[in-house]
């Protein structure tokens, strides 16, 4: 069972590596969108500092959305999804493998890029470590919840737009606690409760989301 999960994980990572443009595009979107804000709201340091946490988080959510529609779509189109549901391993296990691969190819690059962007927005140095921790605890939820949306839109026309409508509202708790963790740190308060809730959301998602995505996939192959 673990062998099949690792095989799916390895395959998806290899696919992402050889089609490197997909992952790169997500990070490029993240960087470019964040750099638009100083142009839009003006270079005033106090304003940028005030909105830095929120801007980084909102942009990270949007960047993660970009990559989600391909999560199951390619396998659905070329018939691989039919075959994946027909392996002796329950599809929910393989879904976990695909979600981990998605996190490694999009969530991880976003985490790495975020401190650089925080610097650009004049975030106070106290916030950096907490921003990194919050991203590390929050981005797995993005892949998990997003995976359910990606499975639900299979076969739909204009799936990408539908996906944002389905998934973005569900990202609100992650955004709220992600931003408040950073703000607490900047104001010198304890960020731990916010980080714990982010971790709890990811763990809860890990338990529930693969099942929901697996059920949606079974529906899609019928």
């Amino acid at each position: 069972m673990l062998g099949a999960l690792l095989a799916v994980l390895r395959r998806d990572l290899r696919l992402a590596l050889r089609q490197g443009a997909d992952s790169l595009m997500v990070v490029a979107f993240f960087v470019i969108t964040v750099t638009l804000f100083p142009f839009g709201v003006g270079p005033e340091q106090a304003v940028l500092e005030r909105i830095s946490g929120g801007v980084v988080w909102v942009t990270a959510l949007l960047a993660a959305m970009l990559s989600l529609d391909r999560l199951f779509q390619a396998d659905y189109e070329d018939g691989s999804l039919d075959l994946l549901t027909l392996t002796p391993t329950p599809i929910v296990v393989l879904v976990v493998g695909k979600m981990i691969a998605h996190w490694l190819t999009t969530g991880l690059p976003l985490i790495i890029a975020s401190p650089v962007l925080a610097l650009l927005l004049h975030m106070q140095t106290d916030g950096y470590a907490v921003l990194l921790a919050a991203m590390a605890l929050g981005t797995p939820s993005l892949s998990l919840i997003g995976g359910v949306g990606a499975a639900l839109i299979l076969g739909a026309r204009r799936g990408g737009v539908l996906l944002s409508l389905l998934v973005l509202p569900l990202y609100i708790p992650i955004l709220v606690f992600g931003v408040s963790a950073v703000e607490a740190a900047v104001m010198g308060l304890d960020a731990a409760p916010h980080l714990m809730i982010l971790g709890a959301l990811s763990l809860g998602g890990l338990v529930l989301c693969p099942w929901a995505a697996a059920a949606a996939l079974k529906q899609a192959v019928e």
């Binding site: 095989a7 018939g79 039919d82 392996t87 002796p88």
Partner: protein
């Protein structure tokens, strides 16, 4: 049974211990009804497959050949009726059913950026019940490629393969990850004559080892002693069956309770 293939035992890789063939191996369906959209594709369909037997599905386009194969694979759920192995219904243990079944559909599941050997290796890994050793995996992938005449294409990425080569690679999956029941939906599409002969040889070997095959086709495929199932005979027109009552397909077949 006269359905047994006359071919001699083959050098092909034996089926793994987990899916080892019991002599009383049997896969059957009883009273199957398939509903697609609001149309009943076929109704009251029975079939039975024993070790070494083959089932040839015939019928015009839209008669339900693909639907029946997808239903046998477990991708579709029957509206009524049941599928069972000799040791219990499919629904009791879908994972066991999946371990015993290999499905070849219209789509070849070829990734453009992975090489032929990588694709085959991946499927051999995920279809195995217990993780195969690296050496065993290498051997079974190399053997499967050789048998389908793809050895020289092992390092070629999927996007460079022709339609026929993609289909052969998809068929090689049956050899790299052995299972007793092969469900093949028009497997000879895009294959040249020589490849069709190769496939016929592979299928004969599989049946000689006690494997089972259900295959749909519009072309000539040599499947000696195969039973023919004409899907056209199971089509249903509710208006013809019950001209005087409701034309609703549910009530006309007594399926209202389903």
């Amino acid at each position: 049974m006269s359905d047994r293939s006359p071919s001699t035992p083959s050098p092909a890789a034996p089926l793994s211990a987990a899916t080892a063939l019991a002599p009383d191996l049997r896969f059957e369906g009883r009273g199957l009804v398939c509903l697609r959209g609001e149309r009943i594709v076929f109704a009251n369909l029975d079939f039975s497959l024993g070790a070494g037997e083959a089932l040839l599905l015939l019928g015009p386009n839209g008669s339900g050949k693909s639907s029946l194969l997808r239903l046998m694979a477990g991708l579709l759920r029957p509206m009524a009726g049941a599928l069972a192995w000799h040791d219990g219904p499919v629904d009791d243990d879908p994972e066991r059913h999946h371990a015993r079944t290999r499905y070849v559909g219209h789509a070849d599941a070829i990734k453009p950026v992975l090489t032929a050997a990588e694709i085959l290796r991946f499927w051999a890994q995920v279809c195995a019940e217990s993780p195969p050793s690296r050496a065993a995996l290498d051997t079974s992938v190399a053997d499967a490629l050789a048998r389908m005449g793809l050895t020289h294409l092992g390092d070629v990425p999927g996007r460079m393969l022709s339609a026929g080569q993609k289909r052969r690679l998809n068929l090689a999956r049956l050899l790299a990850a052995p299972a007793p029941l092969w469900l093949m939906d028009e497997p000879v599409t895009a294959l040249d004559k020589a490849s069709v002969r190769t496939l016929e040889g592979v299928m004969a070997d599989h049946r000689a080892q006690g494997g089972m095959i259900a295959l749909s086709t519009h072309q000539d495929v040599d499947l000696p002693g195969a039973r023919v199932l004409d899907l056209d005979a199971f089509g249903v027109d509710p208006l013809d069956l019950h001209p005087d009552i409701d034309a609703d397909p549910y009530t006309s077949l007594g399926l209202a309770a389903c």
